[in-house]
């Protein structure tokens, strides 16, 4: 039977966002697992860790607008968030609104200015990993595995926010979680010991203090490399961005040479279900995962552009104002 949930993708998972491949792979595995995700109408940013750093009431109102929108979503009472930060903000706001009556009353006065209302406790936000291991279950997932990830050494990386603080819906241990370990074993992968599995990736520190950020990234990548992992598997767009996109900058900072690919757990599920790597958005990571996946006989078509075009782009040095090459190609025919 199909299980239905309301769905909060979050800004990073949108098309053109840094974690679009996470959305692609999430939607790809939903169908065979009989999951139906109904995107909530006109959702807004959860505020990440920034909004609440400068505003208190408005930060809770920002999140509560999403909860109010979710409460109107097709009578669904459970909302899935694949992003750990969105999951944390949505579940935390709901918990605090339930615990703090004065806060809830004021947030509702604010919501009323936009024609909305939210009764605390009426929507439960859950992370996608929680849904997969507890609602779908390991057995039902195992039943879909057609290409076991046998021989692939995986470091399961949970990060912080899905296991901490765990307000009204704690689903795994705060410090030594095991659900992702078991899930990867279900797919046939070899799970390496990874003591850093629930340590922080540094969040926004790459933008605040390089020394602080790169040290946190280094610890994690080194931890996975020390246990000879072929790939780190993550459940969060921020973790993936820090570990994957900033791995090169971290290597330069420490004069190290780590090449640790970082994939989403949903991509691993898709591969084990026999789906093609490109349909799962694999190939969009900056640390090449092809060598690791070749170990288990999975070929990833190159998403790189022709070398001539690429070198021309690199000489221009400043990537920010440039148009995406794909669009340039389309325009040029």
């Amino acid at each position: 039977m199909t299980k239905r949930y309301s769905f909060f993708p979050g800004c990073s998972l949108e098309r053109g966002g840094a974690a679009y491949s996470y959305l692609q792979s999430t939607l790809a595995i939903a169908a065979p697992l009989n999951l139906e995700f109904v995107e909530i109408d006109d959702w807004n940013c959860c505020g990440a860790t920034e909004y609440i750093s400068l505003n208190r009431m408005a930060a809770y109102a920002l999140v509560a607008r999403n909860l109010a929108q979710a409460a109107q979503c097709d009578g669904l009472r459970e909302m899935v968030a694949p992003c750990s930060a969105c999951f944390l903000n949505l579940s935390k706001a709901d918990a605090y609104l339930q615990d703090d009556r004065a806060l809830a009353d004021k947030v509702n006065i604010a919501l009323a200015a936009g024609g909305l209302n939210y009764k605390p406790g009426s929507v439960t936000t859950r992370h996608l990993l929680d849904i997969l291991v507890n609602d779908v279950g390991y057995d039902a997932i195992a039943a879909q595995v057609t290409k076991p990830l046998k021989g692939l050494r995986v470091a399961p990386y949970y990060g912080c926010l899905i296991v901490r603080p765990g307000f009204h819906d704690k689903f795994d241990d705060h410090e030594y979680p095991l659900t992702l370990d078991k899930l990867m074993k279900t797919l046939g992968a070899e799970v390496v010991d990874f003591p850093m599995k629930a340590h922080c990736c540094g969040g926004h520190m790459t933008q605040i203090s390089e020394a602080s950020a790169f040290e946190m990234i280094r610890r994690l990548v080194k931890g996975a490399a020390d246990y000879n992992a072929d790939v780190m598997v993550t459940v969060c767009p921020m973790c993936q961005l820090n570990l994957d996109a900033f791995q090169g900058a971290m290597n330069r900072y420490y004069k190290s040479d780590y090449k640790m690919p970082v994939l989403y757990f949903t991509q691993m599920l898709g591969l084990a279900f026999g789906m093609s790597a490109s349909n799962l958005g694999i190939g969009s990571e900056l640390v090449d995962a092809r060598a690791a996946l070749a170990k288990i006989g999975i070929e990833v078509p190159s998403s790189e552009l022709p070398p001539a075009r690429k070198s021309r782009r690199a000489k221009e040095a400043l990537p920010m104002p440039a148009m995406p090459n794909r669009e340039i190609e389309e325009v040029n025919g």
């Binding site: 990073s12 006109d42 505003n55 009431m57 901490r164 926004h204 920010m320 995406p324």
Partner: protein, 201 residues
């Protein structure tokens, strides 16, 4: 009968300076239990960025209880908190440490006591996109922030930028939600209520 220590007896009775502690408690949503700190130091020992802080959370909490407002709000410690909640789940007194750190950031910004504007400006830029579009916008956020705070950093991460572009992981236009007017009204009302709360403190 003589007083054992006449010097002490002549002093006024010791009073605890609790105004600042009460302000922090009142400005932190739900019940933070900050007043329950037993100074065990589990928080600092659990902190992944503790080495970068001038005061550990334990020291900060002692300063808050001592009423050392300026010292606390000038501290860089809250700005190095990465919101990982490690301290919070380990705290034997169930103090919502991460939430207290957010409160200290807000107070430092409101009273202009932060010494380094990098982190507050990053938050401001992020918020600016959210308040005008309803969604965050990675390219706008990072480029605006780097131009102001780390202009040469652009060259250091040029290869990453090229990679993100060629892999299609950077959007070039921000997306605006439909209900932007409603969201603006909600946020304006919430800020008005927050300002009223702050005045009452």
């Amino acid at each position: 009968m003589t007083t054992p220590n006449p010097d002490l007896a002549s002093q006024s009775p010791i009073t605890l300076e609790t105004k600042f502690l009460n302000q922090v408690l009142a400005s932190t949503p739900a019940h933070s239990h900050l007043e329950m700190c037993i100074q065990c130091g589990t928080c600092g020992g659990s902190c992944p960025s503790g080495a970068d802080m001038d005061y550990t959370p334990r020291q900060l909490f002692a300063l808050i209880r001592a009423g050392a407002r300026d010292q606390v709000l000038h501290s860089r410690a809250p700005w190095f908190c990465v919101s990982c909640y490690y301290c919070m789940v380990r705290c034997p007194q169930d103090i919502h440490i991460t939430d207290v750190m957010y409160t200290l950031k807000r107070m430092a910004v409101k009273s202009k006591m932060y010494d380094d504007s990098t982190a507050p400006d990053f938050s401001k830029t992020f918020i600016n996109w959210v308040e005008n579009f309803g969604r965050s916008f990675e390219l706008g956020l990072m480029s605006q922030h780097m131009i102001k705070h780390n202009p040469f950093g652009v060259f250091k991460i040029a290869d990453m930028g090229v990679g993100m572009v060629t892999k299609g992981r950077i959007g070039f236009t921000p997306k605006r939600i439909k209900g932007m007017d409603g969201l603006k009204a909600i946020l304006a009302k919430a800020k008005e209520l927050e300002a009223r709360d702050d005045e009452a403190l």
